[in-house]
Every structure is written in C-alpha cells, then in structure tokens.
Point group: C2
Chain length 119, copies 2
DNA sequence: TTAATAGTTCAACGATTGTTGGAATATTAA
DNA sequence: TTAATATTCCAACAATCGTTGAACTATTAA
C-alpha cells in the first residue's frame, strides 16, 4: 500500500459517521446493505449519507453494486488488511522479541470474497 | 475501545505527516526517538512537528518521556492493536466461513512494553 | 550568570471538510 | 406516459485543520 492510499483510507474512517457506516457494513459481510437501509440504521439524511458513501468508495473502503434502483454497498476487507499491514510494517525493526504486534508470515495472502471495484 | 477514542486515533493518523511520524516511531520500538531527530528525519519545522506530536500524544498513539532537555516519543503499540480490533470487530457476524479477516482468540491479550501515559 | 539548545504555546491565515436543502438522474410501478 | 421511489449532484455556509513566525519555558554549557 502506498502512503497516499493509506492517508485516503484513514481519512475516510476518521469520522464518527463513517466509522459507524464501516462497522455496520463489515458486520454484514458479503451481504452488504443498500443505501436506504444504511440511512435508516444510522438515521442520516440521504444527502449526507451519499456524501460519505462516495468518499469511502473512492478510497476503496467500500464497493458498490447496482441492484435495480438500489445501490448495495459492501466493506472491502482486503483493503482493511492492507491498511493494517501498512500501519504495523517493520514494527520494532530488528528486535522482534520486543514487539507485541502479531506478525503475519511473509507471503501470506488471504482470499477475499470480492476485491474488484464494481463501479 | 470506544468510538470517540477510535475517531481520535484515526484522525491523528489521517495525514501524510503524522503517518510518517507514526511509522518512523513504530520501527524504532522501545527505543523511540527524541523530537529533534524526528524533525530531522522528516524535515519538519519544530512548530509543526510539535503540533502533530501533541495531537498524536493526546490521542494516546504516542507516549512522551522527558530526558533532560529532550523529549523522547514512542509509538503505543497496544493502542494500535485495540484500534485494529475495533475496526474488524464482528466482521461477517455469524458467518465466519465467509470472512477473510484473521480472528484473534477471545481473551488474547499481549504484553506491551509500556501502555501507561508518561505525561 | 549568561548564552545556547530543545521544545512548546500562541495568534493568524488560508485551505479543507461536513452538513444541508434543492434540483437532477435513474429505475420501477400504475 | 406519468408518478413515485432511491440515490446522487450542486452550491452555500459554518466549522475545523494545518502551517507559520514570534514569543515563551526549561534545561544544560560556558
């Protein structure tokens, strides 16, 4: 992950509203949620919801898929894993015995339901 | 971790400068770095550096310890772990088989060099 | 004591962000 | 076709954020 991407992802999580949106969607997994249901769950006016959904989708944190007149949003789990790796990269470099952050084996790549952008 | 704390931590990482600062410090582990060396490494004017160090320290992401006329900063690894747990909490709730995010065993707590606030 | 070094605080400014209502677009139902 | 529903786009405004220079405090060296 590049720095600019990491900043964009972090920005798009750094607000109470967007954090709620992301956590709501990550719970739903592959099912995801349509925009209207997210609005209802979090009690947000549609304009505002759309603003945040767009920001998060552009950051890659969410994916969208059209379903008739609904838009279904899903959390992008792979990107979250990349972010976590970026944040903890080379933690305690050269002194793994001091380090409390769990390390992933090198080359470990996990399969994800869907990483592709739908938009 | 509470939502307000998570937002504060994410805000304090959501900028190129602060992300660089954090990643620099997490590499140093328990050694940490004094403010002047951080400024030199990232080529930042002291006023600006101090502004960001303060924000990150108040968010709990960094700890400070005075050493004579120097201030030594260290990354708070425990808080990063809490944040990661918060972000991935209840991922794919009820459908672990769909989920690509690695789960931590319940009750897993890792020892960290220092979690206490020094200031 | 005086001077130098390390770092923080303050005030100001420009830039960016979040929220809102209203208008626009797209899809489905009547 | 027309009307209703779902969602996005646009413009405006207030609020917040990041950067800077100048002034300040604390510690150490001369």
């Amino acid at each position: 992950m590049r720095k600019t991407s990491a900043v964009t992802v972090l920005e798009s999580l750094a607000s109470g509203v967007r954090l709620d949106m992301y956590r709501l969607l990550i719970r739903k997994g592959v099912e995801g949620m349509v925009a209207g249901d997210i609005a209802a769950a979090l009690d947000l006016p549609p304009t505002n919801l759309s603003f945040h959904l767009k920001a998060m989708t552009q950051a890659g944190l969410l994916t969208v898929e059209q379903e008739g007149r609904f838009q279904r949003y899903r959390a992008n789990l792979a990107l979250m894993q990349d972010l976590i790796a970026y944040l903890t990269e080379e933690c305690c470099a050269g002194h793994p015995e001091q380090c409390a952050i769990p390390r992933r084996a090198k080359g470990t790549v996990s399969r994800t339901p869907s990483t592709a952008r739908t938009a």
